[in-house]
Amino acid sequence: MRAIFTFILLACILLSPVQAVEKTFVIGYLELESDPRYKERYSEARYRGQPWGRPFDGAKIALKEVRFAAASAGVKFELKRKIVKDDAELIAALDTLISDGAEHVLVDAPAASINALAKHAAGKAVLLFNVSAVDNSLRQKQCRKNLLHIIPSRAMLMDALAQYLVSSKWRKVLVLQGPRPGDADIYQAFKRSAKRFGLKIVDTKPFKLGRDPRQRSRNNVALLTSGKDYDVVFVADSDGEFARAVPYQIQRPRPVVGSAGLVAEGWHWAWDRHGAPQLSRRFLRKSKRWMTAYDWSAWMAVKALAEAVQRTGSTELNVLKQYLLSEKIVLDGFKGYPLSFRSWNNQLRQPVFLTTGNWVVARAPLEGFLHDKNNLDTLGFDAREIKCQ
């Protein structure tokens, strides 16, 4: 028996170099140089719910993590990064990546750019991963078969927040809404969640950044919040500069939520369970800043691909795509729950954190919010709400 064991041990040692003959699996990574979210001053402000820098390091950390999984499938993963100027170049860069053998491409760009890219890629042998656009539009009318969403949608974030408000019995909400199209998107998403979970929007007031005394009904937080009573103030600010000054400035002693105060996010560095602190620290060491949901999404996309390669033993696009979108897949996002993709709009189902500046107050889905199949589907668009065309 011992001899057999020794023999096997020896055989494995001798055979191991054979495994070293590896196939390279190229993952493309596309981003825009002009992406306004990564302007230095903007990143440095560390607005809540916004990226704090380019998420590429997340993908790199994942690449290192998956080396054993990849090796066991006889594959070596490689990232090919392309930073381009504009949307036209983005499309050209995708074509180059495809001709270089990348069949899986992570895209870090605003929703409009991703939509144009996915439209262009229709019919081509490539699968795209949205790592940074939270827009609901991409999960609804614009959803596409060749586009997977790793980052949670606004609908998921707002549902998480609404669950928390309902649980806390803070049902009466005053909304402050900014002038940007993104602010309107946040408002629409929140309105949907409020209706879904039974919150009452008592008033919606437009805000404007500035100090002009003639505009004070719009730029003065105390004046904006001195009308009808409410349980919480919800700030719909897709930028963050106005929102950050709202807490402690409002007329009544009430909590602020939305884009400041209690914020729903896909990741937070303070989450201290499920191996999350180790991942956040790996990211901190590499990037010298804390990890955000955007960095997490780039990391998660590579991890999902590695999981598919490891479990199927294949590198073929169709095999991997089928596995990624199957019910069999179990993805570990380091926030608890086995994660998988929704078949109806290719969105990664996942828990959402309710966060303060340095703590995760709760993790949605909250206790008591149940779904007939998977409680994670209480967050975001469920199959019956889908308007994919």
Partner: protein, 327 residues
């Protein structure tokens, strides 16, 4: 039997030497590490009264007795040390530097080497206890957790939570000789007494992988279905097997139960309701009592194996992790 007699002899010898400190050996004490208090709580094994809280370095988690049962080793992750508790004095008398962030560890069968998983660095560190130095570092996947030395001393198994594999390390070369693909987030390991089968708990896939140690292949999988819990709540972590190798007890994490598994058929015989997020588990030497640490209710469940019902719940420190019993 032979081992048992030797152990008895040691007890008598020790008793003679430390006549004044007779209670130090075979105390029946329970030791519970709590991650967030940085203490090991000592409880009386019969009355469950708190005897002492032993301060350790930060974040004590994995614990094991030295083979002579005079010391308790405690892996303190944030303190970057393995603290050594003298069981006669009930205090930390030594600290071992086994690299950064040790989480769990095992000892070689002869008790000379300590194998520790370094969670942050993705290493298995081999520490020579006599010469007090690191003799090897083996690079493994990120967040290595479970460490288990085979009884023949030739192999060390290490799980990587991140890479979803069980690494097989040969002790003659300190090299990785194989990576066995397990489920998602493999945590802890247990070997059947004959050493032929390795069990691996997979926290995120909610399963246990059964590995044939000779061929190093996964030959089976156990799934769990405690009543009233959804698939995502079933997060198996801790595991203990009876000395006869017939029964395994597995903690179900967020499903707040312990599964009782028949080893021969791999069938779950029963689920025992314990506290919230049950992780650590140990069995008394006589096999009559199970002790379970519940990380989210900060308590310890005492479960007689005859009734398989919780007899007592004892509050211990914040986020209890490991429990061991000095019987």
């Amino acid at each position: 039997m032979k081992v048992h007699r030797l152990w008895l002899l040691t007890v008598i010898l020790f008793g003679l030497i430390c006549a004044l400190n007779a209670e130090a050996k075979d105390t029946g004490y329970l030791f519970v590490s709590s991650e967030k208090d940085h203490v090991v709580t000592v409880l009386d094994g019969k009355t469950f009264k708190k005897i002492k809280e032993i301060s350790t370095a930060d974040r004590p988690r994995g614990m094991r007795f030295s083979p002579d049962r005079q010391h308790l080793y405690v892996a303190c992750g944030d303190g970057d040390s393995i603290d050594v508790i003298d069981l006669a004095k009930l205090e930390v008398t030594d600290q071992l530097d086994v690299g950064d962030d040790p989480e769990r560890f095992d000892l070689s069968p002869d008790g000379k080497l300590l194998y520790a998983s370094n969670e942050d660095d993705g290493l298995l560190t081999v520490f020579d206890l006599q010469n007090r130095k690191i003799i090897a570092e083996v690079e493994v996947g990120e967040e290595p957790e479970g460490v288990l030395a085979s009884p023949d001393g030739k192999t060390v198994y290490v799980t990587s939570e991140v890479a979803n594999v069980v690494h097989v390390v040969a002790t003659d070369s300190w090299k990785l000789v194989d990576n066995i693909v397990a489920g998602n987030r493999p945590r802890r390991l247990a070997l059947t007494p004959d050493g032929k089968t390795l069990w691996v708990t997979n926290e995120v896939s909610g399963t246990v992988s059964i590995v044939d140690t000779a061929s190093r292949t996964v030959t089976g999988e156990i799934k769990f279905k405690p009543k009233g819990f959804r698939a995502e709540d079933i997060t198996p972590v801790g595991m203990v097997m009876t000395p006869d190798g017939k029964t395994a007890y597995i903690t179900m994490g967020a499903a707040n139960h312990v599964a009782v598994v028949d080893v021969a058929t791999l069938k779950v015989k029963k689920y025992v309701l314990v506290g919230r997020r049950a992780w650590g588990i140990t069995l008394s030497r006589d096999g009559k009592t199970l002790y379970v640490t519940n990380g989210k209710s900060d308590d310890l469940s005492v479960v007689p194996t005859a009734s398989l019902k919780v007899k007592r719940s004892i509050p211990v420190g914040r986020v209890p992790y490991t429990v061991v019993v000095d019987d």
